[in-house]
């Protein structure tokens, strides 16, 4: 099923726009973490509790650069090609 809005988040969890993005997400939306945003996968899962239902993605090359891997379940690691596909199929895209 296509996402209503894909939220592309490149800010680290300390950035004020990070929380702003999370609070702007609806139930049919998806979250794609890129650049500094992928650091959120290293933090305690409670910090992302509000995302219970949303589909969550993190850009693989950005994870690898920072020595991170995703825990199975919550986040799916995606390639650049898959990122393009996500942006092309979502109804709307917001780059935070």
């Amino acid at each position: 099923m296509a996402l209503k809005t894909l939220h592309i988040l490149n800010k680290s969890p300390e950035h004020s726009r990070f929380q702003l993005c999370l609070s702007a997400m609806g139930p049919e939306d998806g979250l794609l973490l890129i650049e500094n945003g992928v650091l959120a996968v290293a933090q305690a899962p409670e910090n992302l509790e509000t995302l219970e239902r949303a589909q969550c993605f993190a850009l693989g090359p950005d994870l690898e650069a920072r020595g991170l891997t995703v825990r199975p379940g919550r986040f799916q690691s995606v390639s650049f090609e898959q990122m393009v596909e996500l942006t092309a199929t979502a109804e709307n895209v917001i780059s935070w």
């Binding site: 680290s12 300390e14 500094n36 290293a42 090359p61 690898e64 650069a65 020595g67 991170l68």
Partner: protein, 116 residues
């Protein structure tokens, strides 16, 4: 004259941290005592196993491996930030020392400067 350079920004997202690192290495190369302190999202500089080829950058882990060669005295990491980002002695680079930023720490240095 001792200097502490503080990096409080995440790696790869901007260039400020790398510039601060160059500054630290330059000081050390001219025999000026210098240490680096990584705070907040900056502690992510210190995680083992970084491979930045996929984002067309050089790994900052390799950069930091040169710190002892240049004569940087210490790589200090904010203890609380490490806990937040799931970093412990096993996942941190070997030469890192955990520290608690505060007046006692900064008092040990003549100069304190930030990246960016």
């Amino acid at each position: 004259m001792t200097t502490l350079i503080i990096i409080d920004q995440a790696p790869y997202g901007s260039w400020e941290g790398r510039e601060a690192l160059d500054m630290a290495f330059s000081l050390a190369a001219f025999d000026q005592p210098v240490s680096l302190l990584f705070c907040g999202p900056g502690v992510n500089w210190l995680r083992k196993g970084q491979d930045a080829a996929g984002v067309q950058q050089k790994s900052v882990e390799k950069n930091l491996a040169a710190a002892p060669i240049f004569g940087v005295e210490a790589l200090l990491a904010d203890r609380a930030a490490c806990e937040q980002y799931g970093l412990d002695q096993n996942s941190l680079l070997d030469q890192v020392t955990l520290a608690d930023p505060g007046p006692e720490l900064t008092a040990r240095f003549d100069h304190v400067a930030f990246a960016g």
